[in-house]
């Protein structure tokens, strides 16, 4: 396989913030915990179906805990980003990994989003869109001040690069 001019994509330079692990874990736990809580409450109220409902809730919680133990650490190793003067380069995913590259001259908008959980962890997500309906890049789990600086820098870079981005 690895011939003379075999090449690979190198990982982007920067890791995401350490706190992202906590944020992802919280997301996993909430995603499993909320339905489990609803099922548990129903299970306590509805006598005949108690075993089924409580059983499902326990399975959900177990799944959530397993995912929390496994995925956030993996995501943290994979999720990386890099901004050069020419391009934005992002790697995401775990089982399915994705490397996305968008040249600076084709970037149309740069947004920062902070959901309630992200605010709790002091994090932000930067979304970079191009004219393609399928070409958006998302950098999750950045420190929110870093994210704001990054968005500002990207906007300035984009403005300095000519072209109509299509």
């Amino acid at each position: 396989m690895a011939g003379e001019n075999a090449v690979r994509l190198r990982p982007p330079r920067n890791a995401v913030d350490r706190r992202a692990v906590g944020w992802w874990s919280a997301q996993c736990l909430l995603a499993a915990g909320l339905p489990a809580a609803v099922l548990a409450v129903l299970g306590l109220l509805i006598e005949p179906a108690r075993t089924w409902l409580l059983g499902t809730a326990v399975v959900l919680v177990a799944l959530g805990v397993a995912c929390t133990a496994f995925f956030p650490a993996w995501w943290f190793r994979v999720h990386r980003w890099e901004v050069t003067d020419e391009a934005v380069y992002v790697r995401t995913g775990a089982l399915w990994q994705e490397w996305r590259i968008a040249p600076m001259s084709r970037i149309q908008t740069v947004d920062t989003v902070r959901g309630p959980l992200e605010q709790l962890f002091g994090l932000a997500t930067v979304t970079v869109t191009t004219a393609s309906s399928k070409g958006a890049l998302r950098v999750e789990g950045l420190d929110h001040e870093l994210a704001a600086d990054l968005a500002e820098r990207l906007t300035a870079l984009t403005r300095a690069t000519p072209g109509d981005a299509t």
Partner: protein
Amino acid sequence: MTAGPEGEWRRLDPRTLLVTAAVFCGVAAGAGVPIAAGLAGGRPLWQAVAWVLAGAVLLVGGGTAADWVRCRRTRYRVGPDRVDLHTGLLLLKRRSLARDRIRTVDLTANPLQRVPGLVKVRIGTGESTGGGESTLELELVTRAEGERLRRELLARPAATGADPAHDGTLAVLDPRWIRYAPVSFVAPALGGAAAGAVLQVSEWFGAQAEVIDWIGDRFQEVSLPWMIVDLLLLATAAGAVGALGLWIEMWWNHRLEREPGGTLRVRRGLFTARSVTLEERRLRGVELVEPLGVRLLGAARVDAVATGLAEDDDEKHTDLKTLLPAAPRAVADRVAAEVLRETEPPTSAPLTAHPRAARARRLRWALAAVLLPAAVLALLGALLTPVLLYVAAGWTVVLAPLAVLLARDAYRSLGHTVSGGYLVTRSGSVRRATVALQRTGIIGWTVKQSYFQRRAGILTLTATTAAGEGAYDVLDAGEDQGLALADEAVPGLLTPFLVRAGTPEARSTAR
């Protein structure tokens, strides 16, 4: 009308009302006959007819009056910089398009509209944002006015100058191409729809059981399997006839032209005349589409890959991007080359094959798609009834070879190359598509690898673009192949992120 510096306000053609009235008459007749038949059961015939007539008059009169108000309240003007449309009775809508953003002016006219010589005009900016906000519809104006708008709004100082080698008619429909209509996927769909319609209509009249009995009587002397085969053949034949009719309606008088100034124009349609105009600078490439049946006959369809076309998903605008219906492969290649102003068609460039791992992947998917349902059936059969075991066996015996054939064909379809200014990629078996995408139209890369792809050393490279579907895939290319292709197609973009395989940096992929 006031004529300011912004141009003169114009109105829709008053004969629009005739068309509207005709449409409402049709609706009234369609709904009135069954209602009259229903009412006539309980009371004298003349009474039922009178009731229905009164309702019809109310409907037609009301509908036409509403349309009259709409016509009165609608006006548009073409200024030096902008096109404005004001419409609406209570909710005033004012839409204004900058003229230098207008990319398409499409004219359509259905048979009713063609009798008085009217057309519907759609003026679009080709922007991908905001569904209908970027189009302006005039319903209806005279054909001459429509043509005037089209010429005026799309008239540009010819940037490229006249190009006698490429201007003029690029393709004219050859009636013999109708032979590709019955093998398209439209035919079985129409056949199924016809069979469904027979049952549905008979159910409305409570005669479904009789229809089924009648069919049973026709086939009294043949066995059940043969009856099913016969009925399937019948439905297929009906579908084929329908596909022929549809093809004639859609593609009659088809003509693909390039007009001076750099616009492509497709004109077609037997009853509903359509004229679709596409500005060449929105063109980012072409796609050669070969559905299985059409491909077996050696034919292909040519679609445009252009910005701002795919977003018009209201109505059935998917056929707007088709430049040439299924035609012999050589013709399709020639048209693709001429549309792109190339001497050699990039769509017929020799393609690089993909690694064997891609083939193994396709075979695994195909077999899984057949064997998983078979396993479920077999399990149920073991638990419930042995009949399901036979079904599972039959399913596997019939479908497994078919799936393997399709998988091997899908692998043979895979291919990619860089040909001149184009990135060419091909994939698909049931619907094989060859995309030639301008390298300058690529606005980013996505490299995807699943866990299994990483182990097999293959990746899916996706070129994102502002045009067409927004992204075009090179499926399951070798890791070196794919990255080298991306690096070659858009020089410099990927280079800073590539390293030689075997260096420690390259190995730090988190598996």
